[in-house]
Amino acid sequence: MSAYDLDRTLAALADPYRRRVVDLLRERPHRAGELAEATQIAFPLMSRHLKTLRESGVVEEDRDPFDSRVRIYRLRPEPMADLKAWLEETEALWGRQLVALKAHLQKGRK
């Protein structure tokens, strides 16, 4: 994972509506219209959020095989994996540091 990619993912998800979209796409791919409806935000605004998510590589779009005017959005797995890896590293980091803090306090008592 590159730091740049993780950074883009974090920036893309630093918005509650975009996170809601990601949550919906984790269930299954959705049409833009469905996403706008489910999140109750205006279609033009949804289009902007989808553009941000697309540019950051979090989602990708396809054309509906039955209706080429309709776009279907799906989650790309890599950014989510990067995010999970960052969370795991961060958890491991603080685990190590707290254990070290504890050891330091134990040493100080003797």
Binding site: A3, D7, L98, K102, A103, H104
Partner: protein, 183 residues
């Protein structure tokens, strides 16, 4: 995700609030971990902040291509820096303290050198007495909103995002710096 401190005697870790794999739970950026240490909350806070250089384990996070993290130090109080000093004398600011409540709570910003200019994360450390010991908990979040009770305490709307909070603090601190003459 397993407990990061598993296998260490006397240590306990609480599961991180990470459910990226489970459909249905909202995507989160929050990591939570806690450990009981043998000192009272005041002493633990003091050691956490003033002796961090003595207990911090090198993580390789703060300087690309160099070994170690340098010598970490907190400047006490709200607006104080958490920074690290390398052997060659150069420094790197990890973040600024936004909450400084000795013996209770510490909140500071956390930026790794790989982060972009706007990107920041936040670390909240709580110190709670458990008998004669202290439960130290660390919550590290990249965008999850700050807890509602804290939001209320600081007068933030509860839906405000972490990034906005970070911006707010940056603004507030810049204002403060200007008032006290460019510290």
């Amino acid at each position: 995700m397993g407990a990061a401190v598993g296998g260490v005697e006397g240590a306990f870790a609480e599961g991180a609030e990470v459910r990226l794999g489970d459909v249905g739970a909202p995507v989160t950026s929050k990591v939570f971990i806690a450990l009981r240490v043998p000192a009272d909350p005041m002493r633990t806070f003091e050691v956490f902040t003033q002796e961090i250089a003595l207990w911090w384990q090198p993580s390789g996070l703060f300087r690309v291509g160099a070994t170690g993290d340098g010598r970490l130090a907190f400047e006490p109080g709200v607006g104080g820096r958490l920074f690290t000093t390398f052997d060659d004398g150069s420094t790197y600011e990890i973040g600024r303290v936004s909450v400084w409540e000795p013996g209770q709570r510490l909140v500071f910003a956390w930026r790794q050198p790989s982060f972009s200019a706007e990107q920041s994360t936040e670390v909240e450390v709580c110190f709670e007495a458990v008998g004669e010991e202290t439960r130290v908990s660390v919550e590290h979040r990249a965008w999850d909103t700050i807890p509602r009770k804290h939001a209320a305490r600081h007068g933030f709307p509860e839906h405000v995002t972490l990034q906005r909070v970070a911006d707010w603090w940056r603004g507030a601190l810049e204002g403060l710096r200007e008032r006290i003459g460019g510290l």
